[in-house]
């Protein structure tokens, strides 16, 4: 199924865009006559981690939901794996979403299900045998260092633990694209760093394409200037003040793209608003 989807995706992708996993073309959306995203165009290449920055209310979460087909744009086209999600029927979107993991702003764990059932939700839907599902849940929870919480229920978990369970739920099906909607929002700096480390681990170990929204510049630059060391199991700064080449930035303000480029370009931007935002 996944191979077929990839094949179909590549066939329908425009020439020159075969490396792009997510493509937004002139996308606009408004709610109650208020424009939230205005003529947005950008693309995310295979293996790239795109950090989306910007003030609150700038349309970042809406952009994330558009990428997953949870919302439909008023105009413009959105292609994910070469398939146009902006006009795809919901039934086909369910198949496409099998390749996309999403971490929601407030975790969005199912309150009535245990951590194990939450993480295994997708596997249960795909009728994966119980034994294998349990094995994969333990594996995913080990990745987020939370295997001791397997029998707990979401209301018993702290905010940081809920985010980690949410990450485990997103990665369990080994998706080709992960969407992180403010995974560090509302968390203390230490817990935020733990979450950023997990995002980095997913980036450097699995090389999964991802989009990550954050309000914290510190998290964004930690992600861009560090790498995960599988030997030590911890993150470490990239030597000589280097930056991760696969990590790029997109800055949104009032529904428009203010910046789209690399870490180096971002820190050397001369745009007055951007300099003020970064300072």
């Amino acid at each position: 199924m996944a191979e077929q989807l990839v094949h179909e995706g590549l066939q329908s992708a425009a020439p020159g865009e075969q490396g792009s996993v997510v493509v937004f073309e002139d996308v606009s959306i408004a709610f109650d006559l208020k424009t939230v995203l205005d003529d947005i165009s950008f693309s995310v290449d295979h293996g790239e981690t795109r950090i989306i920055l910007g003030p609150a209310g700038g349309g970042k979460s809406v952009l994330m939901k558009l990428a997953n087909g949870l919302l439909r744009p008023d105009s413009g086209k959105i292609r994910v794996f070469g398939q146009e999600v902006s006009s795809m029927p919901e039934r086909d979107l369910f198949k496409l979403r099998a390749r996309i993991g999403m971490v929601f702003q407030e975790s969005a764990l199912f309150d009535s299900l245990s951590v194990e059932d939450n993480v295994a939700y997708r596997l249960h839907e795909e009728h994966v045998p119980e034994e294998e599902a349990h094995k994969r849940v333990v594996e995913a929870l080990k990745f987020v260092e939370l295997e001791q919480a397997i029998d707990k229920f979401p209301p018993e978990l702290s905010g940081g633990m809920r985010r980690r369970v949410s990450i485990a739920r997103a990665i369990i099906s080994r998706p080709d694209l992960i969407l992180y909607d403010s995974p560090t929002g509302g968390l203390d700096p230490i817990t935020s760093t733990t979450i950023v480390e997990l995002v980095m681990k997913q980036r450097d170990v699995s090389h999964t394409t991802s989009l990550m929204i954050t309000h914290r510049l510190q998290d964004a630059f930690t992600l861009a200037m560090n790498r995960f060391n599988p030997q030590t199991g911890k993150m470490e700064p990239i030597p000589n003040g280097g930056v991760d080449e696969s990590t790029k930035f997109l800055v949104l303000n009032e529904g428009k793209i203010v910046f789209d480029g690399t870490t180096h370009e971002l820190v050397h931007s001369t745009d007055p608003w951007l300099r003020q935002y970064l300072s």
Binding site: A108, F110, E125
Partner: protein, 259 residues
């Protein structure tokens, strides 16, 4: 509160009816294709059916009691107190059993569905379900709809039975009637058309309870306040619709069966 022009107001209402109709159609038709969530259907049957038994038994029983008690005065004036069983059976089976069961289940379950689904909506759990590749209508609405239809039918039969039993208790203990003649009168009063009418109504009521409850739940906006608003609206709308549809079904049945 901002002023809404009559045109916008009308558009909003028409859009709401359209969304409700689409949701209802999707919920009904989802059972005819895979995947089907049988475990969720059984869970909902337990929650809606078994969970509603105590209130249905109590409501039905005391309605039967009070019906016998109140009608005795009028029947005595005509010297027809022996017809109490007749009156209680007809009233319970044709009207009070189905309507009161519908209203009680509406208060309990339409509210429950609206608040549960509403909470899931405002905490993005519905979106998470979609993001995980599951159709929320198929997973959440369809099981509630079919479970309500199936269980309300049997709850109505229970309400009818305990209502007649309640009437019997009052007739025997307070009105001094003979139990055998009461039940005989009850049995003879009922005809095929009465039973069909009484058992058709819960099918419509159940549809209204589940679809209205789920619609308000799925369209919840505005945090916890929105959940409260959806819950209230679900109970109010489903209760009013049950009574309106009860009248329409009664009229249609009288037209078909002549009684």
């Amino acid at each position: 509160m901002p002023f809404v022009s009559p045109e916008d107001f009308a558009k909003q209402k028409v859009a709401a009816v359209q969304e409700y109709s689409i949701l209802s159609w999707q919920a009904v038709s989802a059972i005819f294709s895979r995947p089907r969530y049988w475990a969720d259907i059984y869970t909902q049957m337990d929650s809606i059916g078994v969970g509603s038994m105590p209130i249905i038994v109590l409501t039905g029983f005391f309605t039967g009691c009070v019906l016998a008690l109140q009608s005795a005065t009028s029947l005595k004036a005509f010297g027809a107190i022996s017809m109490t069983g007749n009156l209680v059976a007809l009233s319970m089976v044709k009207e009070l059993g189905p309507v009161l069961t519908g209203l009680m289940v509406s208060g309990r379950n339409a509210a429950g569905m609206a608040s549960e689904l509403g909470s899931m909506k405002v905490t993005e759990q519905i979106d998470a379900m979609r993001a995980l590749g599951t159709d929320p209508v198929r997973k959440l609405v369809t099981p509630r709809l079919y479970a309500t239809i199936f269980m309300l039918f049997f709850l109505t039969i229970v309400a009818d039975a305990v209502g007649i039993a309640g009437g019997a208790l009052v007739s025997v203990t307070l009105l001094g009637l003979n139990a055998s003649s009461y039940f005989h009168a009850s049995y003879r009063a009922l005809e095929y058309a009465d039973v069909v009418q009484g058992l058709t109504k819960p099918l419509f009521s159940a549809f209204i309870i589940a679809t209205v409850g789920c619609y308000f739940g799925m369209s919840t906006k505005g945090g916890t306040q929105g959940v409260g608003r959806s819950t209230t609206q679900a109970v109010v709308f489903s209760s009013v619709f049950i009574i309106i549809v009860d009248f329409l079904v009664s009229r249609a049945m009288i037209g078909i069966f002549g009684r």
